[in-house]
């Protein structure tokens, strides 16, 4: 199903893309955003793409579409990753998250995930931090774009990355395609690893974190707390920059809750009733005293 997408003005400033991809290829790239789902996947059949995107262009055939896709699949650009599952071609747009706000947690993909990533580890190692310019902001946007694009190109050759949804979010949400993307608006020198991400499916507190919890807040059922922690954040889909830090906060909060005895606070209606009863009790005592006095 086609989706509404937006094009950031910075897209047209991307010198690297402009130098390495033709005008038609760039138009095709933007058009592919409309076809990609929330997981940045789409059907990779050139014939289907031709029919969907260039149905009225007689000068473009499926062969030409294939060539344009090859331009975009250039590892130096890393715009499009082609893969096949059961003989069917698919495309994956690793940088789509840099252009659009994707919500893969809301809509499951009907298309198979890229098989090379499915075999990799579920938690990708964050890429090395980009060198921070001395003045923090003096580096040109185009230059930073190139460095990130190179990182993507390098990562696209690595089969051991990005397996699950969180990995996809990590890739799509933190690797900008163009300068001025999500990261470029953030603080200078920020690494992609600092971007908030959902809790990985297989996250669990490390032994060091468990030892810390046991030593700092003894008495907690850490197995139970770990299960609750993971269930809570998988259910809510909240994103955090550091899950170990969040775990430590969770443990501290749990300790605080367990240390504070729950006060048996009556409901508001009961409190009002008690207040009314007390008022009339006092009034009745005063009235009896007056009656006795007379």
């Amino acid at each position: 199903m086609a989706r509404i997408r937006s094009v950031k003005p910075e897209f047209w400033d991307d010198r690297k893309l402009a130098k390495r991809a033709s005008r038609d290829a760039r138009l095709l790239y933007i058009a592919l955003w409309n076809l990609a789902d929330e997981w940045a996947r789409l059907n990779g059949d050139p014939q289907w793409i031709k029919g969907k995107l260039f149905a009225y262009d007689d000068d473009l055939d499926t062969t030409a579409i294939g060539k344009l896709l090859e331009e975009l699949e250039n590892p130096a650009l890393g715009c499009v990753v082609a893969y096949e599952v059961d003989g069917d071609p698919y495309l994956f747009l690793p940088k789509l998250g840099g252009h659009q706000r994707l919500e893969p947690e809301k809509v499951p993909s009907r298309l198979p995930e890229p098989p090379a990533w499915a075999n990799g580890p579920r938690n990708p190692e964050p890429p090395p931090a980009a060198p921070t310019p001395p003045n923090g902001l003096s580096e040109s946007r185009a230059d930073s774009s190139e460095s990130r694009a190179d990182e993507v190109a390098h990562r696209s050759d690595e089969p051991e990355s990005h397996a699950d949804k969180s990995a996809l979010l990590y890739v799509a949400g933190s690797m900008e395609h163009v300068a001025g993307g999500r990261g470029a608006r953030g603080r200078a020198g920020a690494t992609p690893a600092s971007a908030p991400a959902e809790i990985p499916d297989d996250w669990k507190p490390s032994d060091a974190l468990l030892r810390w919890a046991n030593a700092t807040y003894p008495g907690l059922d850490l197995h139970f707390e770990a299960e609750q922690f993971c269930r809570h954040y998988r259910a809510t889909g909240d994103r955090r920059k550091s899950w170990p830090d969040q775990w430590q906060k969770w443990i501290a909060d749990s300790h605080k809750r367990s240390a504070t005895p729950a006060r048996a606070s009556p409901p508001a209606a009961d409190r009002r009733q008690q207040a009314t009863d007390a008022q009339f009790d006092r009034a009745m005592q005063r009235a009896i005293a007056r009656d006795e006095a007379t």
Binding site: T276, Q279, F280, A283, M284, A287, I288, R290, D291
Partner: protein
């Protein structure tokens, strides 16, 4: 109505009208306004007013009590005082007033049948 009975009346009104603002000093004021009424009348009147509206004011209780008493008097047949009091206007009037008050208070119980002491 005693002070304690006024507190009971205010408590009753509070139960009938939960939204009405009544604090511990309300019975004191109500006693000044309704102290001459009987608890039974005032309570019946308060219930009657509360049946119509969400708040009950002492003036409405008084008006309702007046209406209830008048209705009792209208329904009742006022017997004349004993004939031996006709020569004593003061006692005659007192007996008449007592009888009216008795009827207005609701103590106008007439026997369902004429009852006589069994002979022997």
């Amino acid at each position: 109505m005693t002070h304690a009975e006024t507190v009971a009346l205010a408590r009753y009104v509070k139960a009938c009208c939960p939204q009405q603002a009544i604090d511990e000093y309300t019975p004191d004021a109500w006693h000044d306004l309704l102290g001459d009424l009987t608890l039974a009348d005032a309570r019946a009147a308060a219930g009657e007013v509360a049946r119509r509206q969400p708040f009950v004011a002492p003036a409405e209780i008084r008006a309702e009590v007046r209406r209830i008493r008048a209705e009792r008097l209208d329904r009742a047949i006022l017997d004349a005082p004993p004939a031996e009091l006709t020569d004593n206007p003061g006692r005659y009037k007192a007996a008449l007033d007592a009888r009216i008050s008795q009827i207005a208070d609701g103590y106008n119980l007439l026997p369902a049948i004429d009852w006589k002491e069994p002979a022997g």
